[in-house]
Subunit: 230 residues, 2 copies
DNA sequence: TATTTATGATAGGTTTACTATCATAAATAA
DNA sequence: TTATTTATGATAGTAAACCTATCATAAATA
């Protein structure tokens, strides 16, 4: 009933699509909860199966290993952010305004509707902030990139870089800025919480306004000509 | 004979100072080589002991686990970069010039003298680029921060933030910029090698000039008033 | 010469990661 | 309807990773 969103991901990520069964959706749901509680290193399929009330072998029928579960979740998040950007920038022509919307999606993708019952987007966002970088910082990065596992991240960054180039066609680093805005968003939310001496930002509860303001300031400073009066 | 450099690190990182014995120095040396070859996930004390011609139990007398070895190496690197910045900015008064020197240290800390036989700084730099972020992206971050394991990183960032504030005392995000320049340096060297569609930079062999130019451009754009003619 | 210290050798225990097999209930096809 | 396929659970088991403990011995120090 109502509108249903189904995000499709690279088929190489799973052995069996977890979105198609109760057990599969439970794997996704409790992976997010457990990853958020334990962190990636202490998370494993044994604990996950106990949480779900299933067995290790059943989970292995969906995912080869926990690393692929993480890539699956992160890919889902990337697609979700790309979707949010798409619908929120519809009918917006000013690229500066578009970039502001993009930045808003980066910092608070978790607080948007519509909701999907088996996927707590707020918890997913904290998993991305704490663990997201681990998907591509491994020895297998080249092999996994070859399988297209990071294609949707690259697509997301390409979209953002396009908007950046619209704002300032002479700017030489649209991809650097695009990927950096995304990484900074996650980094400084993390720093604010765990290593506050590495940032000027503070985050109170779920209030990430300071991060948003900061990213807008950085983007504006970098893209606005030094000669323009503001 | 000659000048010897000894970097002292937080004593909580090790059970026994690896710099004080042949075996200890071998642990450091071969940890760097193995981490660079295998990555953190596939690295373990069994493989390390075989490489050295020692035993697992002997290595456990120096470090509690491989995560602490990584923190040890990363801390050593942070101290080393701080040292390089200190000596290379001696007698330099212009803070803009100081920041240029800092950026140069960030991107190419591996190619400076003097050399320490048991520590391949070029290999260490690639370990930092690929694995460095893993030291503080774990569930134990708060506990380990409480033990002071990240104090020298925070000190390094504080120094850089100080120079940034010298350049522009009204700039609101000195710590964000300082930590971001460091992280961007490692990130984009990594991207250039493994995920080139996330950056505009290319790195040929050990030539990181483009990264250096990019970081200088970002810093300059952010810190120079919009009204100043350049 | 006696004692402490560092290392190696060896063993073992626990957990993690993963594979395989079989039983059964549910869904689907004939 | 009955037959068959499919999904899951139950159970077992292996190899490696992670970590601790004990003992022997050689080197360094008292």
């Amino acid at each position: 009933m109502g509108i249903e969103i189904k995000i499709t991901l690279n088929e190489g990520l799973y052995l069996k699509d977890p979105q198609d069964s109760v057990l599969g959706r439970n794997i996704i749901k409790h992976s997010i909860l457990l990853l958020s509680d334990l962190g990636f290193e202490d998370f494993n399929f044994k604990k996950l199966s106990l949480e779900i009330g299933s067995t290790e072998s059943s989970i292995y029928r969906y995912f080869e290993n926990k690393h692929l579960v993480l890539i699956y979740l992160v890919s889902w998040y990337w697609e979700w952010v790309a979707y949010l950007i798409r619908i929120n920038t519809l009918n917006i022509n000013d690229p500066k305004r578009k970039l502001e919307i993009i930045i808003n999606c980066f910092v608070s993708a978790s607080f948007e509707n519509p909701s999907i019952d088996y996927l707590d987007k707020s918890k997913l966002h904290s998993v991305i902030i704490a663990e997201g970088i681990k998907v591509y910082r491994t020895k297998d990065v080249d092999e996994e990139d070859g399988k297209g596992f990071f294609r949707n991240y690259k697509q997301l960054i390409k979209t953002v870089a396009g908007v950046i180039s619209e704002i300032n066609p002479t700017f030489e680093y649209p991809y650097v800025l695009a990927s950096n805005l995304f990484e900074m968003s996650n980094n400084h939310i993390y720093f604010a919480k765990h290593l506050p001496r590495l940032t000027d930002i503070s985050v109170n509860g779920n209030n990430v306004d300071e991060v948003e303001t900061m990213l807008n300031y950085f983007a504006d400073k970098l893209l606005t000509s030094a000669f323009r009066l503001q």
